[in-house]
Protein backbone atom coordinates (compact mmCIF):
# COMPACT_ATOMS: atom_id res chain seq x y z
CA UNK A 1 0.00 0.00 0.00
CA UNK A 2 1.55 3.34 -1.00
CA UNK A 3 1.51 6.50 1.08
CA UNK A 4 -1.58 7.91 -0.61
CA UNK A 5 -3.53 4.73 0.06
CA UNK A 6 -2.30 4.55 3.63
CA UNK A 7 -3.38 8.11 4.35
CA UNK A 8 -6.67 7.50 2.58
CA UNK A 9 -7.22 4.52 4.84
CA UNK A 10 -6.29 6.50 7.97
CA UNK A 11 -8.60 9.35 7.05
CA UNK A 12 -11.53 7.06 6.40
CA UNK A 13 -10.99 5.23 9.67
CA UNK A 14 -10.76 8.49 11.55
CA UNK A 15 -13.98 9.65 9.97
CA UNK A 16 -15.69 6.42 11.01
CA UNK A 17 -14.33 6.64 14.57
CA UNK A 18 -15.88 10.08 14.93
CA UNK A 19 -19.28 8.75 13.95
CA UNK A 20 -22.42 9.10 16.01
CA UNK A 21 -25.48 7.00 15.34
CA UNK A 22 -28.53 9.28 14.90
CA UNK A 23 -30.92 8.88 17.86
CA UNK A 24 -33.85 7.99 15.61
CA UNK A 25 -31.86 5.11 14.07
CA UNK A 26 -30.81 3.85 17.50
CA UNK A 27 -34.38 4.15 18.70
CA UNK A 28 -35.63 2.15 15.73
CA UNK A 29 -32.99 -0.51 16.34
CA UNK A 30 -33.94 -0.83 20.00
CA UNK A 31 -37.60 -1.07 19.03
CA UNK A 32 -36.89 -3.86 16.58
CA UNK A 33 -34.77 -5.67 19.13
CA UNK A 34 -37.63 -5.53 21.62
CA UNK A 35 -39.97 -6.96 18.99
CA UNK A 36 -37.44 -9.66 18.22
CA UNK A 37 -37.13 -10.53 21.90
CA UNK A 38 -40.91 -10.83 22.23
CA UNK A 39 -41.07 -12.99 19.12
CA UNK A 40 -38.35 -15.28 20.45
CA UNK A 41 -40.18 -15.50 23.78
CA UNK A 42 -43.44 -16.57 22.17
CA UNK A 43 -41.74 -18.96 19.78
CA UNK A 44 -40.11 -20.67 22.74
CA UNK A 45 -43.45 -20.80 24.58
CA UNK A 46 -45.31 -22.21 21.59
CA UNK A 47 -42.59 -24.85 21.24
CA UNK A 48 -43.16 -25.85 24.84
CA UNK A 49 -46.92 -25.94 24.34
CA UNK A 50 -46.58 -28.22 21.33
CA UNK A 51 -44.30 -30.52 23.31
CA UNK A 52 -46.71 -30.53 26.24
CA UNK A 53 -49.68 -31.26 23.98
CA UNK A 54 -47.82 -34.09 22.26
CA UNK A 55 -46.90 -35.54 25.64
CA UNK A 56 -50.52 -35.24 26.80
CA UNK A 57 -51.81 -37.02 23.68
CA UNK A 58 -49.30 -39.79 24.16
CA UNK A 59 -50.02 -40.23 27.88
CA UNK A 60 -53.79 -40.23 27.40
CA UNK A 61 -53.51 -42.71 24.54
CA UNK A 62 -51.18 -44.88 26.62
CA UNK A 63 -53.58 -44.81 29.55
CA UNK A 64 -56.43 -45.63 27.20
CA UNK A 65 -54.56 -48.60 25.78
CA UNK A 66 -53.72 -49.93 29.25
CA UNK A 67 -57.30 -49.60 30.42
CA UNK A 68 -58.54 -50.99 27.12
CA UNK A 69 -60.70 -47.93 26.56
CA UNK A 70 -62.61 -47.44 23.39
CA UNK A 71 -61.12 -44.71 21.17
CA UNK A 72 -64.56 -43.13 20.98
CA UNK A 73 -64.59 -42.63 24.74
CA UNK A 74 -61.19 -40.99 24.56
CA UNK A 75 -62.38 -38.78 21.76
CA UNK A 76 -64.91 -37.20 24.08
CA UNK A 77 -62.12 -35.80 26.27
CA UNK A 78 -61.62 -32.08 25.79
CA UNK A 79 -58.69 -30.58 23.84
CA UNK A 80 -56.49 -33.54 23.01
CA UNK A 81 -59.01 -36.39 23.33
CA UNK A 82 -59.68 -36.78 19.63
CA UNK A 83 -55.96 -36.89 18.83
CA UNK A 84 -55.39 -39.45 21.57
CA UNK A 85 -58.29 -41.50 20.25
CA UNK A 86 -56.85 -41.48 16.76
CA UNK A 87 -53.45 -42.40 18.16
CA UNK A 88 -54.97 -45.26 20.16
CA UNK A 89 -57.20 -46.59 17.42
CA UNK A 90 -54.20 -46.75 15.15
CA UNK A 91 -56.18 -45.29 12.32
CA UNK A 92 -53.76 -44.24 9.72
CA UNK A 93 -54.70 -42.59 6.52
CA UNK A 94 -54.66 -45.67 4.40
CA UNK A 95 -58.10 -44.80 3.08
CA UNK A 96 -56.76 -41.44 1.98
CA UNK A 97 -54.18 -43.07 -0.24
CA UNK A 98 -56.74 -42.98 -2.99
CA UNK A 99 -56.42 -39.25 -3.24
CA UNK A 100 -59.81 -38.45 -1.78
CA UNK A 101 -60.73 -37.67 1.79
CA UNK A 102 -62.12 -40.53 3.80
CA UNK A 103 -65.04 -39.52 5.95
CA UNK A 104 -65.04 -40.40 9.66
CA UNK A 105 -67.98 -42.46 10.83
CA UNK A 106 -67.01 -43.54 14.36
CA UNK A 107 -70.06 -45.63 15.11
CA UNK A 108 -69.90 -48.76 17.22
CA UNK A 109 -71.96 -51.80 18.21
CA UNK A 110 -71.21 -54.68 20.56
CA UNK A 111 -72.31 -58.23 20.91
CA UNK A 112 -71.02 -60.96 23.23
CA UNK A 113 -68.10 -58.78 24.27
CA UNK A 114 -66.96 -58.18 20.71
CA UNK A 115 -67.03 -54.55 19.77
CA UNK A 116 -67.23 -53.44 16.15
CA UNK A 117 -66.28 -49.84 15.41
CA UNK A 118 -66.77 -48.41 11.92
CA UNK A 119 -64.10 -45.79 11.61
CA UNK A 120 -64.21 -44.35 8.13
CA UNK A 121 -65.80 -44.69 4.77
CA UNK A 122 -64.61 -43.62 1.38
CA UNK A 123 -66.47 -43.83 -1.90
CA UNK A 124 -64.80 -43.40 -5.25
CA UNK A 125 -66.01 -44.14 -8.75
CA UNK A 126 -64.75 -47.73 -8.43
CA UNK A 127 -65.61 -48.74 -4.92
CA UNK A 128 -66.82 -47.98 -1.44
CA UNK A 129 -64.23 -48.74 1.20
CA UNK A 130 -65.11 -49.17 4.84
CA UNK A 131 -62.53 -49.25 7.59
CA UNK A 132 -63.56 -50.85 10.86
CA UNK A 133 -61.89 -52.26 13.95
CA UNK A 134 -62.43 -55.36 16.02
CA UNK A 135 -60.63 -56.57 19.12
CA UNK A 136 -57.25 -58.16 18.29
CA UNK A 137 -57.44 -61.90 17.85
CA UNK A 138 -60.96 -61.70 16.42
CA UNK A 139 -61.53 -63.27 13.06
CA UNK A 140 -61.99 -60.50 10.51
CA UNK A 141 -64.74 -62.66 9.06
CA UNK A 142 -66.71 -61.96 5.92
CA UNK A 143 -68.17 -58.45 6.18
CA UNK A 144 -71.51 -57.84 4.59
CA UNK A 145 -72.73 -54.48 3.41
CA UNK A 146 -76.39 -53.94 2.69
CA UNK A 147 -77.83 -50.86 1.07
CA UNK A 148 -81.34 -49.86 -0.08
CA UNK A 149 -80.90 -52.00 -3.17
CA UNK A 150 -79.84 -55.06 -1.17
CA UNK A 151 -76.42 -56.64 -0.54
CA UNK A 152 -73.40 -54.84 -1.96
CA UNK A 153 -70.78 -56.95 -3.72
CA UNK A 154 -67.58 -57.42 -1.68
CA UNK A 155 -64.37 -57.04 -3.63
CA UNK A 156 -61.91 -57.93 -0.89
CA UNK A 157 -60.70 -57.49 2.67
CA UNK A 158 -57.34 -56.51 4.10
CA UNK A 159 -56.43 -56.32 7.76
CA UNK A 160 -53.65 -55.53 10.14
CA UNK A 161 -53.19 -55.37 13.89
CA UNK A 162 -52.52 -52.01 15.44
CA UNK A 163 -52.49 -50.91 19.08
CA UNK A 164 -54.22 -54.08 20.21
CA UNK A 165 -56.96 -53.91 17.60
CA UNK A 166 -57.65 -55.54 14.31
CA UNK A 167 -58.00 -52.84 11.69
CA UNK A 168 -59.90 -54.07 8.65
CA UNK A 169 -60.48 -52.40 5.30
CA UNK A 170 -63.26 -53.89 3.23
CA UNK A 171 -63.81 -52.88 -0.37
CA UNK A 172 -67.26 -53.09 -1.92
CA UNK A 173 -69.02 -52.06 -5.09
CA UNK A 174 -69.58 -48.30 -5.05
CA UNK A 175 -72.62 -47.11 -3.09
CA UNK A 176 -73.94 -43.64 -3.98
CA UNK A 177 -73.18 -40.89 -1.48
CA UNK A 178 -75.81 -40.30 1.18
CA UNK A 179 -77.21 -43.85 1.09
CA UNK A 180 -77.89 -45.55 4.38
CA UNK A 181 -75.98 -48.82 4.56
CA UNK A 182 -75.50 -51.49 7.21
CA UNK A 183 -72.21 -53.26 7.78
CA UNK A 184 -72.47 -56.62 9.47
CA UNK A 185 -69.42 -58.45 10.81
CA UNK A 186 -69.53 -61.47 13.12
CA UNK A 187 -73.26 -60.91 13.45
CA UNK A 188 -72.74 -57.36 14.71
CA UNK A 189 -74.30 -54.61 12.64
CA UNK A 190 -73.58 -50.91 12.36
CA UNK A 191 -75.72 -48.64 10.21
CA UNK A 192 -74.29 -45.46 8.74
CA UNK A 193 -74.49 -43.24 5.68
CA UNK A 194 -72.02 -43.27 2.84
CA UNK A 195 -70.44 -40.00 1.85
Amino acid sequence: MDLFSRRLSDELKLWVDQGVCPPEVMEQIEKRLRQQRRRAFWQARSGHLVMAAAAAVFLIALAGARLDLDPQHLASLPLVGSLAAQFLSGEDDELEDLGAKAVPVNLAAERDGVRLVVNRVLTTGDSTRVQYTLPAGTDAGQPELRGPEGPVWLHGVSSRTSHGRLVVTAEFDPVPAGEEVTLTVQGISVTFRTE
Binding site: F4, S5, I29
Partner: protein, 170 residues
Protein backbone atom coordinates in the same frame (compact mmCIF):
# COMPACT_ATOMS: atom_id res chain seq x y z
CA UNK B 1 -33.83 -10.14 29.37
CA UNK B 2 -30.21 -10.60 30.31
CA UNK B 3 -29.11 -11.41 26.76
CA UNK B 4 -31.06 -8.47 25.37
CA UNK B 5 -29.48 -6.02 27.81
CA UNK B 6 -26.02 -7.47 27.32
CA UNK B 7 -26.35 -7.18 23.55
CA UNK B 8 -27.50 -3.57 23.75
CA UNK B 9 -24.70 -2.69 26.17
CA UNK B 10 -22.18 -3.97 23.63
CA UNK B 11 -23.92 -2.41 20.64
CA UNK B 12 -24.38 1.13 21.90
CA UNK B 13 -20.70 2.16 22.08
CA UNK B 14 -20.15 0.75 18.57
CA UNK B 15 -23.27 2.17 16.96
CA UNK B 16 -21.65 5.36 15.69
CA UNK B 17 -18.76 3.56 14.02
CA UNK B 18 -21.09 0.93 12.61
CA UNK B 19 -23.44 3.55 11.26
CA UNK B 20 -20.65 5.38 9.46
CA UNK B 21 -19.21 2.13 8.14
CA UNK B 22 -22.57 1.33 6.56
CA UNK B 23 -22.86 4.90 5.28
CA UNK B 24 -19.41 4.69 3.70
CA UNK B 25 -20.21 1.43 1.96
CA UNK B 26 -23.73 2.28 0.85
CA UNK B 27 -23.23 5.98 0.19
CA UNK B 28 -26.26 7.41 1.93
CA UNK B 29 -27.59 7.68 5.44
CA UNK B 30 -31.05 6.24 4.81
CA UNK B 31 -29.64 2.96 3.51
CA UNK B 32 -27.03 2.99 6.26
CA UNK B 33 -29.75 3.12 8.90
CA UNK B 34 -31.68 0.27 7.27
CA UNK B 35 -28.56 -1.86 6.88
CA UNK B 36 -27.54 -1.28 10.48
CA UNK B 37 -30.98 -2.34 11.67
CA UNK B 38 -30.89 -5.45 9.53
CA UNK B 39 -27.38 -6.35 10.66
CA UNK B 40 -28.30 -5.75 14.29
CA UNK B 41 -31.21 -8.18 14.11
CA UNK B 42 -28.99 -10.78 12.46
CA UNK B 43 -26.36 -10.31 15.12
CA UNK B 44 -28.94 -10.45 17.91
CA UNK B 45 -30.30 -13.75 16.60
CA UNK B 46 -26.77 -15.16 16.37
CA UNK B 47 -25.52 -13.60 19.60
CA UNK B 48 -25.15 -16.97 21.35
CA UNK B 49 -22.64 -17.94 18.66
CA UNK B 50 -20.29 -15.06 19.47
CA UNK B 51 -16.97 -16.51 20.54
CA UNK B 52 -14.35 -14.56 22.44
CA UNK B 53 -16.65 -12.67 24.77
CA UNK B 54 -17.38 -8.94 24.75
CA UNK B 55 -13.92 -8.08 23.42
CA UNK B 56 -14.73 -9.88 20.18
CA UNK B 57 -18.05 -8.11 19.72
CA UNK B 58 -16.91 -5.02 17.73
CA UNK B 59 -15.14 -7.03 15.02
CA UNK B 60 -17.87 -9.65 14.91
CA UNK B 61 -20.63 -7.06 14.64
CA UNK B 62 -18.68 -5.14 12.03
CA UNK B 63 -18.25 -8.28 9.93
CA UNK B 64 -21.99 -8.94 10.02
CA UNK B 65 -22.66 -5.34 9.05
CA UNK B 66 -20.19 -5.40 6.15
CA UNK B 67 -21.74 -8.64 4.90
CA UNK B 68 -25.20 -7.09 5.11
CA UNK B 69 -24.03 -4.00 3.22
CA UNK B 70 -22.28 -5.97 0.49
CA UNK B 71 -25.43 -8.05 0.00
CA UNK B 72 -27.33 -4.81 -0.57
CA UNK B 73 -24.63 -3.60 -2.94
CA UNK B 74 -24.69 -6.85 -4.89
CA UNK B 75 -28.40 -6.47 -5.45
CA UNK B 76 -27.95 -2.85 -6.50
CA UNK B 77 -24.98 -3.44 -8.74
CA UNK B 78 -26.83 -5.96 -10.83
CA UNK B 79 -28.59 -3.08 -12.50
CA UNK B 80 -25.50 -0.92 -12.97
CA UNK B 81 -23.95 -1.21 -16.46
CA UNK B 82 -20.51 -2.72 -16.73
CA UNK B 83 -17.79 -0.11 -16.98
CA UNK B 84 -15.28 -0.11 -19.79
CA UNK B 85 -12.09 -2.07 -19.08
CA UNK B 86 -9.36 -0.08 -17.39
CA UNK B 87 -5.67 -0.49 -17.27
CA UNK B 88 -5.12 -3.33 -14.81
CA UNK B 89 -2.21 -3.49 -12.45
CA UNK B 90 -1.55 -6.04 -9.75
CA UNK B 91 -1.45 -3.45 -6.96
CA UNK B 92 -3.02 -0.21 -8.05
CA UNK B 93 -0.92 2.76 -7.02
CA UNK B 94 -1.32 6.48 -7.58
CA UNK B 95 1.69 8.63 -8.28
CA UNK B 96 2.12 11.88 -6.35
CA UNK B 97 1.58 11.36 -2.65
CA UNK B 98 1.72 14.96 -1.53
CA UNK B 99 -2.02 15.24 -1.26
CA UNK B 100 -4.03 17.23 1.25
CA UNK B 101 -5.63 14.27 2.96
CA UNK B 102 -7.74 16.10 5.48
CA UNK B 103 -11.47 16.41 6.16
CA UNK B 104 -12.15 16.50 2.44
CA UNK B 105 -11.37 12.82 2.02
CA UNK B 106 -14.82 11.57 2.90
CA UNK B 107 -16.38 14.17 0.60
CA UNK B 108 -14.12 12.96 -2.21
CA UNK B 109 -14.90 9.29 -1.54
CA UNK B 110 -18.59 10.06 -1.26
CA UNK B 111 -18.56 11.83 -4.62
CA UNK B 112 -17.36 8.68 -6.37
CA UNK B 113 -19.70 6.57 -8.40
CA UNK B 114 -20.99 3.67 -6.31
CA UNK B 115 -18.93 1.09 -8.21
CA UNK B 116 -15.75 2.92 -7.27
CA UNK B 117 -16.76 4.05 -3.80
CA UNK B 118 -17.62 0.50 -2.72
CA UNK B 119 -14.22 -0.96 -3.59
CA UNK B 120 -12.38 1.98 -2.03
CA UNK B 121 -14.29 1.69 1.22
CA UNK B 122 -14.01 -2.08 1.43
CA UNK B 123 -10.31 -1.94 0.65
CA UNK B 124 -9.17 1.05 2.71
CA UNK B 125 -11.72 1.26 5.49
CA UNK B 126 -12.41 -2.41 6.03
CA UNK B 127 -8.94 -3.62 5.01
CA UNK B 128 -10.35 -6.31 2.79
CA UNK B 129 -8.12 -8.02 0.27
CA UNK B 130 -8.94 -7.61 -3.41
CA UNK B 131 -10.08 -11.22 -3.77
CA UNK B 132 -12.31 -10.82 -0.72
CA UNK B 133 -13.88 -7.74 -2.27
CA UNK B 134 -14.42 -9.65 -5.51
CA UNK B 135 -16.21 -12.40 -3.61
CA UNK B 136 -18.23 -10.00 -1.47
CA UNK B 137 -19.46 -8.01 -4.45
CA UNK B 138 -19.68 -11.02 -6.75
CA UNK B 139 -17.54 -9.43 -9.43
CA UNK B 140 -14.32 -10.65 -11.11
CA UNK B 141 -11.01 -9.84 -9.45
CA UNK B 142 -9.94 -7.94 -12.57
CA UNK B 143 -12.96 -5.69 -12.21
CA UNK B 144 -12.05 -4.95 -8.60
CA UNK B 145 -8.52 -3.96 -9.66
CA UNK B 146 -9.85 -1.88 -12.50
CA UNK B 147 -12.34 -0.05 -10.30
CA UNK B 148 -9.79 0.56 -7.59
CA UNK B 149 -7.30 1.93 -10.06
CA UNK B 150 -9.85 4.31 -11.55
CA UNK B 151 -11.18 5.28 -8.11
CA UNK B 152 -7.74 6.26 -6.86
CA UNK B 153 -7.12 8.36 -9.94
CA UNK B 154 -10.46 10.12 -9.48
CA UNK B 155 -9.81 10.69 -5.78
CA UNK B 156 -6.43 12.15 -6.48
CA UNK B 157 -7.88 14.48 -9.09
CA UNK B 158 -10.68 15.56 -6.76
CA UNK B 159 -8.37 16.25 -3.84
CA UNK B 160 -5.86 18.11 -5.99
CA UNK B 161 -8.65 20.30 -7.29
CA UNK B 162 -9.77 21.03 -3.74
CA UNK B 163 -6.23 21.96 -2.82
CA UNK B 164 -5.99 24.29 -5.80
CA UNK B 165 -9.26 25.93 -4.81
CA UNK B 166 -7.91 26.59 -1.34
CA UNK B 167 -4.66 28.00 -2.65
CA UNK B 168 -6.65 30.29 -4.92
CA UNK B 169 -8.80 31.42 -2.00
CA UNK B 170 -5.71 32.34 0.03
Amino acid sequence: MKVHDEFLALLRPEAGRLYRTAWAILGNEADAGDALQEATIRAYNAFQQLKGGPAAFPMWMRRILVNTCTEILRRRMRVIPVERPEDLTEEPTVPGVELPLDGDVWDAVRALDERYRAVVVLRFLNDMQLDEIATALDIPLGTVKSRLHTALKLLRRHLEARQEERRGAV
